[in-house]
Amino acid sequence: MSTPENQIPEMPSSAKLISTLAVVAMISGLLVVLVYEFTKPIIAENQRLATERAIFKVLPKATSRLTFVVDKDKLTLADDKTIGELIYAGYDKNNQLVGIALNAAAQGYQDTVKLLYGYQPKSGCITGFDVLKSTETPGFGTKITTDPDFLANFKCLEAKANDQQSALAQAITTVRHGTKQNAWEIDAISGSTITSNAIGRMLNQSGQALHPVIAKNWNLLETAKLHSKNK
Protein backbone atom coordinates (compact mmCIF):
# COMPACT_ATOMS: atom_id res chain seq x y z
CA MET A 1 0.00 0.00 0.00
CA SER A 2 1.50 3.30 -1.06
CA THR A 3 -0.92 5.49 0.93
CA PRO A 4 -0.53 5.73 4.69
CA GLU A 5 -3.52 4.68 6.79
CA ASN A 6 -4.46 8.16 7.99
CA GLN A 7 -4.62 9.67 4.53
CA ILE A 8 -7.78 9.09 2.52
CA PRO A 9 -6.79 7.80 -0.91
CA GLU A 10 -8.13 9.59 -3.91
CA MET A 11 -11.35 8.12 -5.25
CA PRO A 12 -10.82 6.62 -8.69
CA SER A 13 -13.45 7.30 -11.34
CA SER A 14 -16.55 5.11 -11.32
CA ALA A 15 -15.73 3.99 -14.82
CA LYS A 16 -12.56 2.34 -13.54
CA LEU A 17 -14.40 0.64 -10.69
CA ILE A 18 -17.12 -0.63 -12.98
CA SER A 19 -14.72 -1.82 -15.63
CA THR A 20 -12.67 -3.69 -13.02
CA LEU A 21 -15.72 -5.49 -11.74
CA ALA A 22 -16.89 -6.22 -15.29
CA VAL A 23 -13.55 -7.76 -16.23
CA VAL A 24 -13.40 -9.87 -13.09
CA ALA A 25 -17.01 -10.98 -13.54
CA MET A 26 -16.26 -11.91 -17.15
CA ILE A 27 -13.27 -14.04 -16.18
CA SER A 28 -15.43 -15.64 -13.52
CA GLY A 29 -18.28 -16.36 -15.93
CA LEU A 30 -15.94 -17.84 -18.48
CA LEU A 31 -14.38 -20.22 -15.95
CA VAL A 32 -17.73 -21.35 -14.58
CA VAL A 33 -19.16 -22.01 -18.03
CA LEU A 34 -16.09 -23.97 -19.13
CA VAL A 35 -16.11 -26.23 -16.10
CA TYR A 36 -19.90 -26.59 -16.17
CA GLU A 37 -19.88 -27.73 -19.79
CA PHE A 38 -17.02 -30.10 -19.10
CA THR A 39 -18.51 -31.73 -16.00
CA LYS A 40 -22.16 -31.79 -17.09
CA PRO A 41 -22.09 -35.16 -18.90
CA ILE A 42 -19.98 -36.71 -16.13
CA ILE A 43 -22.40 -35.55 -13.45
CA ALA A 44 -25.39 -36.84 -15.43
CA GLU A 45 -23.65 -40.19 -15.87
CA ASN A 46 -22.86 -40.32 -12.14
CA GLN A 47 -26.49 -39.68 -11.30
CA ARG A 48 -27.63 -42.38 -13.69
CA LEU A 49 -25.15 -44.85 -12.18
CA ALA A 50 -26.31 -43.96 -8.67
CA THR A 51 -29.94 -44.66 -9.62
CA GLU A 52 -28.96 -47.88 -11.37
CA ARG A 53 -26.98 -49.05 -8.34
CA ALA A 54 -29.90 -48.27 -6.04
CA ILE A 55 -32.36 -50.15 -8.28
CA PHE A 56 -30.30 -53.33 -8.31
CA LYS A 57 -29.69 -52.99 -4.58
CA VAL A 58 -33.37 -52.96 -3.70
CA LEU A 59 -34.17 -55.63 -6.31
CA PRO A 60 -31.27 -58.04 -5.81
CA LYS A 61 -32.73 -60.71 -8.06
CA ALA A 62 -33.03 -58.38 -11.04
CA THR A 63 -30.57 -58.57 -13.91
CA SER A 64 -32.18 -55.96 -16.14
CA ARG A 65 -34.73 -53.21 -15.76
CA LEU A 66 -37.22 -51.07 -17.60
CA THR A 67 -38.35 -47.55 -16.74
CA PHE A 68 -41.99 -46.52 -16.77
CA VAL A 69 -43.53 -43.11 -16.38
CA VAL A 70 -46.73 -42.74 -14.37
CA ASP A 71 -49.52 -40.79 -16.02
CA LYS A 72 -52.56 -40.78 -13.73
CA ASP A 73 -53.68 -44.42 -13.89
CA LYS A 74 -51.50 -45.47 -16.79
CA LEU A 75 -47.94 -46.65 -17.03
CA THR A 76 -45.96 -46.00 -20.19
CA LEU A 77 -42.55 -47.31 -21.11
CA ALA A 78 -40.02 -44.48 -20.98
CA ASP A 79 -36.33 -43.78 -20.70
CA ASP A 80 -34.49 -42.33 -17.72
CA LYS A 81 -34.50 -38.79 -19.09
CA THR A 82 -38.30 -38.57 -19.12
CA ILE A 83 -39.64 -35.93 -16.78
CA GLY A 84 -42.33 -37.09 -14.38
CA GLU A 85 -42.89 -39.75 -11.77
CA LEU A 86 -40.68 -42.69 -12.76
CA ILE A 87 -40.88 -46.26 -11.55
CA TYR A 88 -38.41 -49.00 -12.37
CA ALA A 89 -39.36 -52.63 -13.00
CA GLY A 90 -36.68 -55.27 -12.48
CA TYR A 91 -36.56 -58.54 -14.44
CA ASP A 92 -34.52 -61.71 -14.04
CA LYS A 93 -32.69 -63.68 -16.73
CA ASN A 94 -35.91 -65.28 -17.96
CA ASN A 95 -37.54 -61.87 -18.31
CA GLN A 96 -39.79 -62.53 -15.35
CA LEU A 97 -40.79 -59.54 -13.20
CA VAL A 98 -38.97 -59.77 -9.86
CA GLY A 99 -40.05 -56.48 -8.32
CA ILE A 100 -40.53 -52.77 -8.74
CA ALA A 101 -38.38 -49.95 -7.46
CA LEU A 102 -40.11 -46.70 -6.55
CA ASN A 103 -38.99 -43.29 -5.34
CA ALA A 104 -40.24 -41.86 -2.09
CA ALA A 105 -39.45 -38.69 -0.18
CA ALA A 106 -40.53 -36.97 3.01
CA GLN A 107 -39.33 -34.32 5.42
CA GLY A 108 -36.91 -35.79 7.95
CA TYR A 109 -35.22 -34.17 10.92
CA GLN A 110 -33.08 -31.72 8.95
CA ASP A 111 -34.06 -31.92 5.33
CA THR A 112 -35.96 -34.08 2.88
CA VAL A 113 -34.98 -37.75 2.98
CA LYS A 114 -35.17 -39.38 -0.42
CA LEU A 115 -35.05 -43.09 -0.99
CA LEU A 116 -35.74 -45.82 -3.48
CA TYR A 117 -37.63 -48.86 -2.23
CA GLY A 118 -38.32 -52.30 -3.61
CA TYR A 119 -41.92 -53.50 -3.89
CA GLN A 120 -43.07 -57.02 -4.72
CA PRO A 121 -46.50 -56.65 -6.29
CA LYS A 122 -47.11 -60.41 -6.15
CA SER A 123 -46.85 -60.68 -2.38
CA GLY A 124 -47.63 -57.00 -1.74
CA CYS A 125 -44.48 -56.58 0.32
CA ILE A 126 -41.98 -53.73 0.56
CA THR A 127 -38.71 -55.61 0.82
CA GLY A 128 -36.00 -53.02 1.27
CA PHE A 129 -34.81 -49.53 0.50
CA ASP A 130 -31.73 -47.54 -0.39
CA VAL A 131 -31.23 -43.97 0.77
CA LEU A 132 -30.59 -41.62 -2.14
CA LYS A 133 -30.33 -38.38 -0.19
CA SER A 134 -30.24 -37.73 3.53
CA THR A 135 -28.71 -35.13 5.79
CA GLU A 136 -29.98 -36.75 8.98
CA THR A 137 -27.90 -36.55 12.15
CA PRO A 138 -25.01 -39.02 11.98
CA GLY A 139 -25.37 -41.71 14.63
CA PHE A 140 -29.13 -41.14 14.99
CA GLY A 141 -31.04 -40.62 11.76
CA THR A 142 -28.47 -42.59 9.79
CA LYS A 143 -29.35 -45.68 11.82
CA ILE A 144 -32.17 -46.41 9.36
CA THR A 145 -29.66 -48.17 7.15
CA THR A 146 -27.79 -50.05 9.91
CA ASP A 147 -30.16 -50.83 12.78
CA PRO A 148 -30.95 -54.56 12.53
CA ASP A 149 -34.32 -54.23 14.33
CA PHE A 150 -35.41 -51.52 11.94
CA LEU A 151 -34.26 -53.39 8.84
CA ALA A 152 -36.23 -56.41 10.05
CA ASN A 153 -39.37 -54.38 9.24
CA PHE A 154 -38.51 -54.78 5.61
CA LYS A 155 -38.45 -58.54 5.42
CA CYS A 156 -42.01 -58.04 4.30
CA LEU A 157 -43.73 -54.76 5.05
CA GLU A 158 -47.30 -55.22 3.88
CA ALA A 159 -48.34 -52.64 1.29
CA LYS A 160 -51.05 -54.31 -0.77
CA ALA A 161 -53.46 -52.28 -2.83
CA ASN A 162 -57.10 -52.72 -1.76
CA ASP A 163 -59.68 -54.61 -3.84
CA GLN A 164 -61.01 -51.47 -5.52
CA GLN A 165 -57.46 -50.58 -6.52
CA SER A 166 -57.89 -47.06 -5.19
CA ALA A 167 -55.50 -47.02 -2.22
CA LEU A 168 -53.57 -49.27 0.12
CA ALA A 169 -55.59 -51.92 1.93
CA GLN A 170 -53.87 -50.88 5.16
CA ALA A 171 -52.11 -47.56 5.60
CA ILE A 172 -48.44 -47.94 6.55
CA THR A 173 -47.81 -46.43 9.96
CA THR A 174 -44.79 -46.07 12.18
CA VAL A 175 -45.27 -47.28 15.75
CA ARG A 176 -43.22 -46.84 18.90
CA HIS A 177 -40.24 -49.16 19.24
CA GLY A 178 -41.30 -52.61 20.42
CA THR A 179 -45.02 -52.21 19.79
CA LYS A 180 -45.26 -53.50 16.23
CA GLN A 181 -48.16 -55.93 15.88
CA ASN A 182 -49.22 -55.93 12.25
CA ALA A 183 -47.32 -56.52 9.04
CA TRP A 184 -48.06 -52.99 7.81
CA GLU A 185 -46.57 -51.28 10.85
CA ILE A 186 -42.99 -50.05 11.06
CA ASP A 187 -41.19 -50.54 14.36
CA ALA A 188 -39.46 -47.19 14.95
CA ILE A 189 -35.86 -46.88 16.13
CA SER A 190 -35.80 -45.44 19.62
CA GLY A 191 -33.77 -42.23 19.43
CA SER A 192 -34.49 -41.80 15.72
CA THR A 193 -38.25 -41.41 15.91
CA ILE A 194 -38.45 -38.47 13.51
CA THR A 195 -36.53 -40.22 10.75
CA SER A 196 -38.45 -43.47 11.35
CA ASN A 197 -41.70 -41.55 11.07
CA ALA A 198 -40.50 -39.92 7.87
CA ILE A 199 -39.86 -43.37 6.37
CA GLY A 200 -43.35 -44.52 7.34
CA ARG A 201 -44.92 -41.37 5.94
CA MET A 202 -43.10 -41.46 2.63
CA LEU A 203 -43.77 -45.16 2.06
CA ASN A 204 -47.44 -44.67 2.89
CA GLN A 205 -47.72 -41.68 0.59
CA SER A 206 -45.96 -43.37 -2.30
CA GLY A 207 -47.79 -46.65 -1.71
CA GLN A 208 -51.23 -45.01 -1.59
CA ALA A 209 -50.54 -43.25 -4.86
CA LEU A 210 -48.64 -45.84 -6.85
CA HIS A 211 -49.34 -49.37 -5.66
CA PRO A 212 -52.92 -49.29 -7.02
CA VAL A 213 -51.54 -48.06 -10.37
CA ILE A 214 -49.09 -50.94 -10.36
CA ALA A 215 -51.91 -53.37 -9.63
CA LYS A 216 -53.95 -51.96 -12.52
CA ASN A 217 -51.07 -52.21 -14.96
CA TRP A 218 -50.00 -55.61 -13.77
CA ASN A 219 -50.11 -57.22 -17.21
CA LEU A 220 -48.09 -54.51 -18.87
CA LEU A 221 -45.38 -54.71 -16.22
CA GLU A 222 -45.17 -58.49 -16.38
CA THR A 223 -44.95 -58.76 -20.13
CA ALA A 224 -43.10 -55.57 -21.02
CA LYS A 225 -39.69 -57.19 -21.01
CA LEU A 226 -40.80 -60.14 -23.15
CA HIS A 227 -42.36 -57.77 -25.65
CA SER A 228 -39.35 -55.51 -25.80
CA LYS A 229 -37.20 -58.59 -26.46
CA ASN A 230 -39.43 -59.78 -29.29
CA LYS A 231 -39.39 -56.48 -31.08
Binding site: P12, T20, V35
Partner: protein, 226 residues
Protein backbone atom coordinates in the same frame (compact mmCIF):
# COMPACT_ATOMS: atom_id res chain seq x y z
CA UNK B 1 2.08 -11.20 8.45
CA UNK B 2 5.01 -8.93 9.22
CA UNK B 3 6.40 -9.50 5.75
CA UNK B 4 3.25 -8.01 4.29
CA UNK B 5 4.49 -4.45 4.43
CA UNK B 6 7.93 -5.26 3.06
CA UNK B 7 7.42 -6.29 -0.52
CA UNK B 8 10.99 -7.23 -1.15
CA UNK B 9 11.28 -10.07 1.39
CA UNK B 10 12.53 -13.11 -0.50
CA UNK B 11 10.63 -16.35 -0.86
CA UNK B 12 11.76 -18.58 1.99
CA UNK B 13 10.70 -21.95 3.30
CA UNK B 14 9.15 -20.08 6.20
CA UNK B 15 6.48 -18.61 3.90
CA UNK B 16 5.35 -22.18 3.26
CA UNK B 17 5.70 -23.68 6.73
CA UNK B 18 4.15 -20.73 8.60
CA UNK B 19 0.68 -21.88 7.63
CA UNK B 20 1.26 -25.45 8.67
CA UNK B 21 2.39 -24.85 12.22
CA UNK B 22 3.41 -21.39 13.42
CA UNK B 23 0.38 -19.59 11.99
CA UNK B 24 -1.89 -22.60 11.61
CA UNK B 25 -5.24 -21.20 10.47
CA UNK B 26 -7.27 -23.33 12.88
CA UNK B 27 -5.09 -23.87 15.94
CA UNK B 28 -3.38 -20.49 16.03
CA UNK B 29 -5.39 -17.99 13.99
CA UNK B 30 -8.78 -19.64 14.71
CA UNK B 31 -10.09 -18.91 11.21
CA UNK B 32 -12.76 -20.79 9.31
CA UNK B 33 -14.07 -22.62 12.35
CA UNK B 34 -17.53 -23.22 10.86
CA UNK B 35 -16.46 -26.02 8.48
CA UNK B 36 -13.91 -27.18 11.04
CA UNK B 37 -16.67 -28.00 13.50
CA UNK B 38 -19.27 -29.07 10.96
CA UNK B 39 -17.66 -31.53 8.56
CA UNK B 40 -14.97 -33.17 10.69
CA UNK B 41 -17.10 -36.11 11.81
CA UNK B 42 -14.99 -38.47 9.70
CA UNK B 43 -11.49 -38.48 8.24
CA UNK B 44 -12.73 -38.78 4.68
CA UNK B 45 -15.05 -35.76 5.00
CA UNK B 46 -12.24 -33.75 6.61
CA UNK B 47 -9.82 -34.67 3.87
CA UNK B 48 -12.28 -33.82 1.09
CA UNK B 49 -13.13 -30.49 2.72
CA UNK B 50 -9.43 -29.78 3.18
CA UNK B 51 -8.59 -30.50 -0.45
CA UNK B 52 -11.52 -28.41 -1.67
CA UNK B 53 -10.37 -25.54 0.55
CA UNK B 54 -6.75 -25.85 -0.67
CA UNK B 55 -7.97 -25.64 -4.26
CA UNK B 56 -10.09 -22.55 -3.62
CA UNK B 57 -7.44 -20.91 -1.44
CA UNK B 58 -4.57 -21.43 -3.89
CA UNK B 59 -6.53 -20.49 -7.02
CA UNK B 60 -8.21 -17.42 -5.52
CA UNK B 61 -4.99 -16.18 -3.92
CA UNK B 62 -3.15 -16.65 -7.21
CA UNK B 63 -5.73 -14.64 -9.10
CA UNK B 64 -5.99 -11.95 -6.42
CA UNK B 65 -2.23 -11.62 -6.40
CA UNK B 66 -2.00 -11.49 -10.17
CA UNK B 67 -4.65 -8.77 -10.32
CA UNK B 68 -3.49 -6.90 -7.20
CA UNK B 69 -2.19 -3.81 -9.03
CA UNK B 70 -5.26 -3.70 -11.22
CA UNK B 71 -7.97 -3.81 -8.53
CA UNK B 72 -8.87 -0.42 -7.01
CA UNK B 73 -9.01 -0.46 -3.21
CA UNK B 74 -12.65 0.59 -3.13
CA UNK B 75 -13.94 -2.54 -4.84
CA UNK B 76 -11.34 -5.01 -3.63
CA UNK B 77 -13.58 -6.98 -1.25
CA UNK B 78 -16.28 -7.33 -3.92
CA UNK B 79 -13.71 -8.53 -6.40
CA UNK B 80 -12.25 -11.04 -3.95
CA UNK B 81 -15.70 -12.42 -3.22
CA UNK B 82 -16.43 -12.85 -6.94
CA UNK B 83 -13.12 -14.62 -7.45
CA UNK B 84 -13.63 -16.89 -4.43
CA UNK B 85 -17.24 -17.67 -5.39
CA UNK B 86 -16.08 -18.62 -8.88
CA UNK B 87 -13.62 -21.20 -7.63
CA UNK B 88 -16.11 -22.54 -5.10
CA UNK B 89 -18.61 -23.09 -7.92
CA UNK B 90 -15.91 -24.93 -9.87
CA UNK B 91 -15.11 -27.14 -6.87
CA UNK B 92 -18.82 -27.81 -6.46
CA UNK B 93 -19.10 -29.13 -10.04
CA UNK B 94 -15.85 -31.06 -9.82
CA UNK B 95 -16.82 -32.87 -6.62
CA UNK B 96 -20.17 -33.79 -8.14
CA UNK B 97 -18.31 -35.20 -11.12
CA UNK B 98 -15.83 -37.12 -8.97
CA UNK B 99 -18.21 -38.64 -6.46
CA UNK B 100 -21.88 -38.01 -5.80
CA UNK B 101 -21.63 -39.85 -2.47
CA UNK B 102 -19.02 -37.44 -1.23
CA UNK B 103 -21.02 -34.50 -2.55
CA UNK B 104 -24.09 -35.64 -0.64
CA UNK B 105 -22.06 -36.10 2.54
CA UNK B 106 -20.44 -32.67 2.46
CA UNK B 107 -23.80 -31.10 1.71
CA UNK B 108 -24.04 -27.34 1.89
CA UNK B 109 -20.53 -26.93 3.27
CA UNK B 110 -18.97 -26.87 -0.18
CA UNK B 111 -20.96 -23.77 -1.12
CA UNK B 112 -20.17 -22.29 2.28
CA UNK B 113 -16.45 -22.22 1.47
CA UNK B 114 -17.34 -18.86 -0.10
CA UNK B 115 -17.73 -17.33 3.33
CA UNK B 116 -14.81 -19.17 4.92
CA UNK B 117 -13.01 -16.25 6.50
CA UNK B 118 -9.67 -18.01 6.11
CA UNK B 119 -9.83 -17.61 2.33
CA UNK B 120 -11.03 -14.01 2.28
CA UNK B 121 -8.63 -13.23 5.12
CA UNK B 122 -5.62 -14.55 3.23
CA UNK B 123 -6.68 -12.75 0.06
CA UNK B 124 -6.89 -9.45 1.93
CA UNK B 125 -3.95 -9.86 4.28
CA UNK B 126 -1.45 -11.64 2.09
CA UNK B 127 -2.24 -12.16 -1.59
CA UNK B 128 -3.19 -8.54 -2.22
CA UNK B 129 0.22 -7.39 -0.98
CA UNK B 130 2.62 -10.08 -2.14
CA UNK B 131 4.01 -11.43 -5.36
CA UNK B 132 2.30 -14.21 -7.28
CA UNK B 133 4.73 -16.99 -6.32
CA UNK B 134 4.82 -16.04 -2.66
CA UNK B 135 1.03 -15.87 -2.48
CA UNK B 136 0.66 -19.29 -4.05
CA UNK B 137 3.28 -20.85 -1.78
CA UNK B 138 1.79 -19.25 1.31
CA UNK B 139 -1.74 -20.30 0.28
CA UNK B 140 -0.52 -23.85 -0.21
CA UNK B 141 1.01 -23.85 3.27
CA UNK B 142 -2.11 -22.37 4.84
CA UNK B 143 -4.29 -24.85 2.97
CA UNK B 144 -2.19 -27.79 4.12
CA UNK B 145 -2.27 -26.46 7.68
CA UNK B 146 -6.04 -26.18 7.46
CA UNK B 147 -6.34 -29.72 6.08
CA UNK B 148 -3.99 -31.05 8.75
CA UNK B 149 -6.15 -29.48 11.45
CA UNK B 150 -9.34 -30.87 9.89
CA UNK B 151 -7.87 -34.37 9.69
CA UNK B 152 -6.59 -34.16 13.27
CA UNK B 153 -10.11 -33.37 14.43
CA UNK B 154 -11.76 -35.83 12.07
CA UNK B 155 -9.44 -38.65 13.13
CA UNK B 156 -10.21 -38.31 16.82
CA UNK B 157 -13.93 -37.86 16.23
CA UNK B 158 -14.27 -40.82 13.88
CA UNK B 159 -12.18 -43.05 16.12
CA UNK B 160 -14.18 -42.30 19.27
CA UNK B 161 -17.52 -41.68 17.62
CA UNK B 162 -17.65 -44.69 15.34
CA UNK B 163 -14.69 -46.87 16.35
CA UNK B 164 -13.37 -46.56 12.80
CA UNK B 165 -10.67 -44.78 10.84
CA UNK B 166 -11.30 -44.02 7.17
CA UNK B 167 -14.14 -46.54 7.32
CA UNK B 168 -12.00 -49.39 8.68
CA UNK B 169 -13.00 -50.85 12.02
CA UNK B 170 -10.26 -50.07 14.53
CA UNK B 171 -11.89 -51.00 17.81
CA UNK B 172 -13.67 -54.31 18.27
CA UNK B 173 -17.42 -54.37 17.74
CA UNK B 174 -17.74 -54.58 21.53
CA UNK B 175 -16.77 -50.89 21.65
CA UNK B 176 -19.78 -48.69 22.23
CA UNK B 177 -19.31 -45.59 20.02
CA UNK B 178 -19.40 -42.22 21.75
CA UNK B 179 -22.11 -40.82 19.55
CA UNK B 180 -21.59 -37.35 21.01
CA UNK B 181 -18.23 -37.20 19.23
CA UNK B 182 -19.77 -37.16 15.75
CA UNK B 183 -22.39 -34.63 16.81
CA UNK B 184 -21.65 -30.88 16.96
CA UNK B 185 -20.74 -30.87 20.69
CA UNK B 186 -18.03 -33.43 19.93
CA UNK B 187 -16.51 -30.96 17.48
CA UNK B 188 -16.17 -28.36 20.21
CA UNK B 189 -14.81 -30.87 22.71
CA UNK B 190 -12.16 -32.20 20.33
CA UNK B 191 -11.18 -28.74 19.06
CA UNK B 192 -10.85 -27.56 22.66
CA UNK B 193 -8.72 -30.56 23.58
CA UNK B 194 -6.38 -30.06 20.63
CA UNK B 195 -6.02 -26.36 21.46
CA UNK B 196 -5.23 -27.25 25.05
CA UNK B 197 -2.58 -29.73 23.98
CA UNK B 198 -1.00 -27.46 21.38
CA UNK B 199 -0.94 -24.41 23.62
CA UNK B 200 0.53 -26.51 26.41
CA UNK B 201 3.34 -27.71 24.13
CA UNK B 202 4.01 -24.18 22.88
CA UNK B 203 4.01 -22.72 26.34
CA UNK B 204 6.44 -25.33 27.54
CA UNK B 205 8.64 -24.60 24.54
CA UNK B 206 8.68 -20.85 25.10
CA UNK B 207 8.87 -21.41 28.83
CA UNK B 208 12.03 -23.45 28.37
CA UNK B 209 13.51 -20.81 26.10
CA UNK B 210 12.79 -18.06 28.59
CA UNK B 211 14.08 -20.22 31.41
CA UNK B 212 17.27 -21.03 29.53
CA UNK B 213 17.63 -17.43 28.52
CA UNK B 214 17.07 -15.98 31.94
CA UNK B 215 19.15 -18.65 33.62
CA UNK B 216 22.29 -17.32 32.00
CA UNK B 217 21.41 -13.70 32.77
CA UNK B 218 19.99 -14.31 36.19
CA UNK B 219 23.18 -15.62 37.63
CA UNK B 220 24.84 -12.30 36.91
CA UNK B 221 21.81 -10.11 37.66
CA UNK B 222 20.83 -11.67 40.95
CA UNK B 223 24.33 -11.15 42.24
CA UNK B 224 24.47 -7.53 41.26
CA UNK B 225 21.00 -6.76 42.68
CA UNK B 226 21.34 -8.51 45.97
Amino acid sequence: MTQATKKETPLTLDVFTAGIWKENPVFVMMLGLCPVLAVTNSVLNSLAMGIASIFVLVCSNALVSALRNFIPRQVRITTYIIIIATFVTLVDYIIQAVSLDLYNKLGAFIQLIVVNCLILGRAEAYASKNSFTKSVVSALGMGLGFTLALVMLGGVRELLGAGQLLGYQVFSTQFEPWVVMILPPGGFIVLGSWLLLINYIQQRKTGKLIAADSASHCAVKSESFS
